[in-house]
Symmetry: C2
Subunit: 355 residues, 2 copies
């Protein structure tokens, strides 16, 4: 599975690197900013999902390469705008887009920090905007690579309509929840947010793979819908596991991210469940753990203890197990073939990863 994933990643890297969309962007530093994240690589899970869901339904996986590249570029504009909103400095170990552009301004335009930061942010907004256009442009190229024009039109409409709306609504809820007292956010609200913010694009990739294979424009057909439900379950389980790793993960492997959710007062499902189940005393201890500057090991031990005591850890682990069972059983409803096997392995991989 990992080898197949790498093969797809290489093909996607090639398409993105050689696509001519960015070539006429001016100024040059904006062009570089537009290309940066999409070229920074990564696991390319979304293109793999597209390819293998297409293969699962009997389609030729090569047809999904342009939609796969489009999904990656689309994913990247959301990261660029998210990073501005979250004020993050690093993305995949390198400076975020707005940081790179701020640094450019400091070296070339101004020595005033505030002006440079505003310049970096403004240009990064525009870089993300350009990536939105780029994603659609690449998706539309699928008509020259084996996908029928009506299916491409349906995918484009789906991406711009449902997916964009859900994903951005999810991001907005995430921003809004972070400003609320975590004791006033419900588990249901956060699961809805995850489904929208993380799930929408994964669902799109899975459904698109099926739609391409079946040459259908109808996303309501049972097979397409079933594959979409598989992606939904996978996406939520993946996010819940991410939350779990943020507390219980191995510091060596999960790195600086241990405790980061606590530092950001992020209302994760696990935190909300812990607050919900906690005694008044435990609740007070949990609240005192939020928003600190750093999380030495004593503090993390106290946190893990509280998440265990309140049953929040067990709740999350059970929820992940149930969701991954759902995902697997949907896949088993499809006739066996090598792509079904790859998707089952991908499910195991994503839900047992420790990094």
């Amino acid at each position: 599975m990992i080898n197949e994933l790498k093969k797809i990643a290489k093909q996607i890297d090639e398409i993105i690197k050689n696509d001519d969309y960015p070539s006429t962007i001016v100024p040059e530093y904006l062009r570089a900013a537009v290309k940066a994240y999409p070229e920074r690589g990564g696991k390319r899970l979304r293109p793999a999902l597209l390819a293998w869901c297409c293969g699962l339904c009997g389609g030729r996986t090569e047809m999904t390469l342009y939609p796969g590249a489009a999904a990656e570029i689309y994913h990247n504009w959301t990261l660029v705008h998210d990073d501005i909103i979250d004020g993050d400095d690093l993305r995949r170990g390198q400076p975020t887009t707005h940081r790179v552009l701020t640094n450019y301004a400091l070296s070339n335009i101004t020595s005033d920090n505030a002006i440079a930061e505003k310049f970096g942010r403004d240009m990064a907004i525009l870089a993300g905007d350009l990536q939105q256009g780029w994603a659609t442009a690449v998706l539309l190229k699928a008509t020259s690579h084996g996908v029928s024009a009506p299916v491409v039109a349906a995918l484009t409409a789906r991406l711009q309509e449902e997916v964009g709306r859900e994903l951005i609504s999810g991001e907005a809820l995430d921003v809004a929840f972070a400003l609320r007292d975590p004791r006033r956010v419900s588990v249901g609200e956060v699961e809805q947010m995850i489904t929208l913010k993380t799930g929408a694009l994964l669902r799109f990739c899975a459904e698109s793979g099926a739609a391409i294979a079946l040459n259908t424009t109808c996303f309501e057909s049972p097979e397409v819908k079933a594959i979409g439900d598989f992606a939904d379950a996978l996406g939520i389980a993946f996010q819940l596991r991410d939350d779990w790793l943020g507390i219980f993960g191995d510091t060596q492997k999960f790195g600086k991210k241990i405790g980061a959710d606590l530092a950001e007062r992020k209302p994760t499902v696990m935190l909300l469940k812990a607050l919900e189940n906690a005694t008044p005393d435990e609740q007070q201890q949990l609240m005192a753990l939020l928003g600190r500057d750093n999380y030495p090991s004593e503090l993390m031990e106290q946190a893990t203890l509280l998440f265990r005591q309140t049953g929040a850890e067990q709740y999350i682990l059970n929820r992940i197990t149930r969701l991954s069972d759902d995902a697997r059983s949907i896949l088993r409803g499809f006739p066996d073939n090598p792509y079904r096997q790859l998707l089952l392995e991908l499910t195991d991989f994503l839900l047992s990863r420790d990094v």
Copy 2:
């Protein structure tokens, strides 16, 4: 012509008001922010350009209504992001999107000004992002309103590829030029910026009208290209006239905007031409006029005198005349019909307006 413009505006208002794209956006205040500018109305020049260029080429103008509404929504996302970048508080006499959302935060979420401003800006970024998706979704609906699927696909590709790239590149240049010493920006650079930032979408509207009428996907066909060149000339002339009005306009009619370009140190073509032609003494006087807090009438009199003395006003007026002659002569190359007449009247209207 004005009556025809109003008729189109009414139809566009209806389509935008009744379109169901925003209905499932959450949270509610984000949905309201997405709808705000598109519903705030305006002259709807872009839809008129689409309709009349379609009519000029013998097409049924009703076919352009959805593309026209899409162009308006597309225009509006650029305004939302521009307003964030420019830090503007007002748009058409009402608070800008990020202002509305900042005020929402102050009333409902926080009493901390900095947090509220960041919230307003972040949500406004997302509102603009949603409008990009909305525009494409509306454009794609044109297939259900008389435009052939291949033409709709070509328009979508054109909007997402050339138009988006040019328009955003133009905005980026505008941001970058504002940070440079105006004596180091050239007239040619600024005209390129205007062609990109303002011209790209107008050109798209004109070309799309022709492409719809001719049912062609080829934007290189001579008729489509000629109409695009007409829009380019119109767009630059319109912008130059805007710059001229910003100095020589009637305070009563052009309102607070008189002097605003000087206050913002905006490198307009007229300013650059004045600096280029000025004696060292005049250059110093011009530079001293930039970036003030307010512009009482003595100061504006000094400014108009300097723009006259240096020949910059005459240069701009000649340039507008030449461009509008070009625009008219392109139109006269088409067979006469009522739409050619409307476009000629629109050209006169836009280039002799005093507001």
